[in-house]
Structure formats: C-alpha cells, structure tokens
C-alpha cells in the first residue's frame, strides 16, 4: 500500500465488463514528505475520491479485490482517503473532510 494524490480522472466508455461503473483516476505517488515520487498511474477508486485528494492505494492482484467484480484486469486501486498523515509527530498532510 502506498500514498498518493489524485490528479485527474479518466473516462472510458468501452471497458472490460467487470469494470462498468468503476471510476478510473490518475494518481501521483507521494513520498514521506508529501512530494511527488515516481511516475503517475491510473487506478480504480473504491471510494468517492477526486482530484486533489491525498489517498492510500494498493498495487498488484489485491487491487482487484476492491471492485464489485473481484476478477477484473486492474493492478492499482485507491483504498482510502488519507485525512491525516503524521511523520514523527509532524503532520505532512491534513484535509478537512
């Protein structure tokens, strides 16, 4: 599981059947300072996240387990909305929900 920020949304009308109704969003992985780290990627979202949100995401086979149909071809999924991230007692991200 990793930290990231949603930076965009992607719409695809023709998708694998199991993915209908599943939002696709573009995420930027973050490092421990909340700074961008690594290449952006497309992930499905299990929550109502949107651009600007700091989130946690998961990669690999487990990502598909967040979808209504568990056997779908995805390898990254947004798991949760990170309201607060603290590093050694110092808050590096805080969002008011």
């Amino acid at each position: 599981m990793h930290l990231g920020r949603v930076i965009g949304r992607l719409v695809a009308t023709h998708k694998t059947p199991g993915l209908s109704g599943v939002p696709l969003q573009i995420i930027q992985p973050l490092d421990e300072n909340g700074a961008p780290s690594g290449a952006t990627l497309v992930a499905t979202s299990a929550i109502s996240s949107g651009p600007g949100d700091v989130i946690t995401w998961i990669d690999g086979r487990e990502a598909a387990l967040t979808c209504p149909v568990a056997f779908v071809p995805i390898d990254a999924a947004i798991l949760g909305f990170a309201e607060q991230i603290a590093r050694l007692g110092e808050t590096i991200a805080r969002q008011e929900s």
Partner: protein, 121 residues
C-alpha cells in the same frame, strides 16, 4: 519481507470497509545497514508497532489475507514483527533498546520532552 522503520501514522476515515478500525502506519523501507531503500509505504500493523520502531514488513497479498483472516481483503503490506536486534557480518548493526532517532526534528517542531527523570512534577 523487508526491513523498515515506522515513521508515522496514516488516518483514513473514508476507506474500503476492510480498513475500518485497523491501524495503518507509514513505513520507510531500509537496506540491511539502515539506509533508506525505496519510497515509503503504508502498512497494516498487526503487532502493535509505533513510530520509531524498526520492523519486519511482509508485502504479499495472499499472506496478508491469511493473517487478517479475511478472504477478500485488499491488503498487501503488513507489519509482522518488531526487530529486537540485527547482526550483519558478525557485527550488531541494530539494537532496539539503543535505537537512534529516525531523523532530526524539524526546526519548527516544539522541543522534545525532557527525559522522565528530569521532568518536574
């Protein structure tokens, strides 16, 4: 599995139902000598680790699901042990009781609390 330092906490009030009530910690992967090695990850804590602890992290989905006893859990990164000591090439490179601070406190942070014996009641 890999070694990591717990560097912080992550709070996700809105998340997949599986994560409700579970503790997620921010872990910094390390090489054997304590050098940072890769981007921080969010790990599920099963052993009661906290910021400052050096831990053993398992990053594999099937084992994660077995440990949580939930067959369809979207979990991968799990803290499975707190390291007591580590020796490499015959030398002790880490001891829990003598662990150093992870990194200097930022200038803006309040001064650390004095040790218990110096504190005035």
């Amino acid at each position: 599995m890999f070694l990591a330092d717990v560097v912080g906490t992550v709070v996700t009030p809105i998340a997949v139902p599986f994560l409700a009530g579970r503790v997620q910690l921010l872990v910094r992967p390390l090489g054997p000598r304590g050098n940072a090695d890769g981007r921080v990850r969010v790990a599920l804590d099963l052993v009661g680790a906290g910021p400052g602890d050096r831990v053993l992290v398992m990053d594999e989905g099937n084992s994660g699901r077995q440990l949580c006893d939930v067959s369809d859990a979207p979990v991968k990164t799990v803290i499975v042990a707190i390291v007591d000591s580590l020796d490499l090439d015959g030398k002790v490179v880490y001891e829990h009781t003598r662990r150093p601070l992870l990194s200097p406190l930022p200038a803006s942070a309040p001064a650390p609390l004095p040790a218990a014996r110096e504190r005035k009641s």
